[in-house]
Symmetry: C2
Subunit: 234 residues, 2 copies
Amino acid sequence: MRNDIVPDIVVRRLPLYLRTLRQVQRAGVHTISSEELAQYLGSTAAQIRRDLSFLGRFGKQGHGYRVHALIRELEYALGLDRTWDVALVGYGNLGQAIAHYRGFEPNGFRIAAIFAKSPDHIGQVVNGLVVLPDSDIERVVSELGIRIGIIAVPASAAQEVADRLVSAGVRAILNYAPVVLRVPVSVTVREIDPISMLQSMTYYLRDPSCDEHRSYADGDLTGAIRAEPRPEAR
Amino acid sequence: MRNDIVPDIVVRRLPLYLRTLRQVQRAGVHTISSEELAQYLGSTAAQIRRDLSFLGRFGKQGHGYRVHALIRELEYALGLDRTWDVALVGYGNLGQAIAHYRGFEPNGFRIAAIFAKSPDHIGQVVNGLVVLPDSDIERVVSELGIRIGIIAVPASAAQEVADRLVSAGVRAILNYAPVVLRVPVSVTVREIDPISMLQSMTYYLRDPSCDEHRSYADGDLTGAIRAEPRPEAR
DNA sequence: TGGTGTGAATACTTTCACAGCC
DNA sequence: GGCTGTGAAAGTATTCACACCA
């Protein structure tokens, strides 16, 4: 296992490799080449080989990768050979949708505490979990040793929530609020911002007539996994 | 207005600039320097100046940028000087949460049609909109001239939905399903995948003791807007 | 004086292409 | 023969640093 630092851009792609490998495994595939995997991912064989080489040498020349073994390696590298407790803050529309989402558990994440500010929400029960007042964040999160937080509160409250989570020991935050959070470098933040995504896509939609800067030349696929989807092509 | 092609990575940052500018505008600020804006964004002044220079020369030496004028320029560049109709496909937990989200309209997006597969969902009414059967996608989307789709269906159905949306004329897709969609290059796709985000963050959480590759040297902030948040620091 | 816009330098990422191995 | 792992090249993105300007 090489421990050259793995670039963050590579780390972000690893879960997609994992997801795809699990999929082909379910389909009964035991061995896969970088070329085949690239096909599934809309990526390139070279990129996949390079990315995986940051973690180690898992392939067999002439054969490709053993799907099962590679899944294990990725799970290990990503720290997914265990279950992670998560604290959810916010129980409005979005927070409730997140709390009811059934995709966390099968992927190794468990919502272990839910916090809200509104008295309407506090005390509600979801999946056997009582929604707690946000003033309990510090105590409960640190008592449970939770390292991951999900922020689903309005923008105006997000920074305060982030500060509390961090002071309670959280070191990874999934932020649904449309604000840039200020956190120490020891904390990783990932933003989910549908509005920004829509707003950046409209750049490519404006004015479908004067398209001279978008000359969709080849029949290539989007390749959502590539560094830059380049909807404007070459 | 320069029309050098704007790199996609820059296009993706423009909405964040817009969001921040609107925020400071609400706070009564009329003029802002790249340095101040960078402060708000956890970015750098040079990056902001470079990014904006792809769109034109909007600043005044010695003064900075007029907030109002810059907002207008960004709105124009992003095609946000109008309202965009959006088709939502999927009306499960997630689709319902999206349908009820109040953040689209104030940002220039309007859910103009909702489609579902399940008979339980078809016929329901939200915001005066009847949930239609997904077999209507082609007809309704093309009749309404909708160019933007949101996919909130299970992974197994996502590709088929994408194909239908595209054949109905959609050219931008916000995809909540955990699959890589195959679409023509003329279509832009942005993925929202909380599980992948969590799974990539756990990379930085494994094994808090042997931290030799993470030596959070400086007191820098996360800078979620930078190309690479580099939680592993230098 | 203070801050923009941008060449030039640096840093990072992807792709090419091939030696080496199963 | 077929496919990995990786140097080297090419391509992008960020940062520096400064001429220039209001």
